[in-house]
Structure formats: C-alpha cells, structure tokens
C-alpha cells in the first residue's frame, strides 16, 4: 500500500505543487508595484562626424559622439521579486529619412545587492551612435531617456521609462579632426 515508491512520489508531487504555488504568490505580490522613479541626464559635449559605417551600409553616415552626466537612485526599485535591472540610455530622434530612430548608447546591468545609486560624471557612450544616413548633423531635437527592464525571479518583464529626460541638439558642422 505505502511502498517507498508511492511515498517518494507523493513527496515529490507535493513539493512541486507547493513550489509552483509559492512562485505564483511571489509573482502576484509584485504585480502592481509602481517601478517609476526620477533621473537626471545632462550632456557635457556633443559633436558629430561623417564617417563610413563599415558595420552596416559602408556609406558615409553620421556618427555622433557625446559625453553625458547621469544621476538616479534606483535602490527602492528592488524588492524580493526583482533579480536584476537592465538600464539603458536611449537617444530618440526623427530625421527626414526615418520618422523614429532609437539608439541605445549606454547600458548597465544592476543585480540585486549591488550599488543602485547612479552618479556618473562625464561618461562616454558604450555603443557607437550611428545614424541610418545623415540625419544627425544639425538635428534640433534628440532626446535622451533612461529606461529599465525589470528581470524578476518569476513574472512579467516590464520596461519602465524614468521620469525626466534631456533634449539636446547636434552642431550643424562636422568635426574633421580625430577626437
């Protein structure tokens, strides 16, 4: 009647259902948390060059360089169902060629337990800011926004925009010399 096999089976099945139930409760407990918070972004220096883009079309494209400051305190975003934050800084603009362009110029992974107070001064971008064509020179409205993608232990994967963004314009002349 109660062989070793059936006892083992019962324990295993019960463990699995309890784990599933707890995971689901963990997911429910953080379903309605508001993950928005403030950020301050500023650009220190902005230049644009015209360089052949060998990573894509090989044609001369606009390549933006910028140095930025970034402040945000994300400590309170962490709760028991946040494993990791994936931060990314997006430059969003529009050109005659493309109605919407979004380029991620910097990103960072913050695991739970790591320092989540960001205070960066004069940071270089992590990725090249290539435009798809020549739409950066003299572009009047490029918006930088910090966003984060929340990676939970189990649950949804929301992407959140920070409150606060920074708009800047590119100079109307290319820089010829090497930077």
């Amino acid at each position: 009647m109660h062989s070793l096999l059936s006892r083992g089976n019962a324990i295993l099945a019960y463990t699995l259902s309890v784990l599933a139930c707890l995971t689901f409760l963990c997911f429910l407990s953080t379903l309605f948390v508001d993950y928005r918070t403030n950020s301050t972004i500023n650009t220190v220096k902005v230049i644009v060059k015209s360089v052949p883009d060998f990573s894509a079309s090989r044609e001369r494209s606009d390549l933006g360089f910028l140095i930025f400051d970034l402040q945000a305190n994300l400590t309170h975003l962490f709760n028991w169902n946040v494993k990791q934050l994936f931060l990314y800084l997006t430059a969003e603009y529009s050109t005659p060629n493309n109605i919407l362009s979004q380029v991620v110029i910097w990103d960072k992974i913050i695991l739970r337990g790591e320092n989540a107070v960001l205070d960066f001064k004069s940071m270089n971008t992590k990725y090249y800011f290539w435009d798809d064509g020549n739409g950066l020179k003299g572009n009047q409205n490029v918006t930088l926004t910090l966003s984060w993608n929340i990676i939970p232990n189990a649950g949804l994967l929301p992407s959140i925009f920070a409150i606060g963004h920074h708009s800047f314009q590119f100079p109307s002349d290319y820089v010829q010399s090497r930077v």
Binding site: T90, L100, V103, V104, I109, I151, P152, L156, L157, S159
Partner: protein, 153 residues
C-alpha cells in the same frame, strides 16, 4: 485525450498571443545574468504593438534552426511603418550582425517570433535534459509506462 488537449492548449495560446511559439526555452547563456539556460519565456507578438528599443525579442535567422533571444539595441522606423533593427545579447560584447544571415544587416518584423513578456526560471531544464540525453528521455518514458501498467486498478 491528453495529447489532444495539450495540442489544443498550445494552439489556443498561439491564437491568444499571436506568436507562432508562445513559450520558448532559453538555450544559450548570451542573455546572462537575466536569463540562464533552461529558463522559460512567455511570448506575445501583437502586430499593433510597436517594437521598441530595450525589448527582448525572439527572432529566427535564415539558415539557423534555433530561434535567438536577444535585446533590441537600435531601431529605425520609416514613415510607412516599416521597422528595421539590430539586436544584441546582454552577455555578448558586440551586436548580432555577425549572427545574421550573410549580408543581412537588419532584422525586420517578419523575422520576429515573439517578444518576451513573462519569465519563469529553471522549468525548461527538463526539456534540455531530454534533448541532450536521449537515454534519460527513454528512461522517463519507460518508467511512466511501467507505472501505468503496474498501477492500473
């Protein structure tokens, strides 16, 4: 009965989520530390919902059987609504242009299988073990078969 209801659930999920494969198992470590091998992702693929930077997309590349799960790095949208974008794995140091088909520079909407919406850790490990160790799969099948035969009341 069980097989047909499983099939119906899968097909029903396909209709609800709009994705041809609503649940995928992460097979590589290229998105670590967010996703590890064996984690389960739930996908949707609504056409009205625009693709934006920072989203995790699952896409297929010509000449590769296995779909890739990576994050959108940059994106350009034309006036007529066509979108082209480049992806990158969180754990990779360069973007994915080297992974695409020869000559392919951009992904478009038709390459996308789905967008990651939900995450469940470890559960997919079972399918990975079954695929990597066929003996384990047969052992499980034999055990289940014996169990059914022995315990029929």
């Amino acid at each position: 009965m069980i097989v047909s209801s499983a099939l119906m659930i899968w097909k029903g999920l396909m209709v609800v989520t709009g994705s041809e494969s609503p649940i995928v198992v992460v097979l590589s470590g290229s998105m670590e530390p967010a996703f590890h091998r064996g984690d389960l992702l739930f996908l949707t693929n609504y056409q009205d919902d625009p693709i934006r930077v920072g989203e995790i997309v699952v896409f297929k590349v010509e000449g590769r059987d296995i779909p890739i799960v990576h994050r959108v790095l940059k994106l350009h949208e034309k006036r007529n609504g066509t979108v082209k974008f480049v992806t990158k794995g969180d754990n990779n140091s360069v973007d994915d242009r080297g992974l695409y088909a020869p000559g392919q520079q951009w992904l478009t909407k038709k390459d996308v299988v789905g967008r990651a919406r939900g995450f469940l850790p470890y559960v997919g490990m079972v399918t990975i073990y079954m695929n990597e160790y066929p003996k384990f799969k047969y052992a499980v099948l034999v055990c289940l078969g014996l169990y059914v035969l022995v315990h029929r009341e």
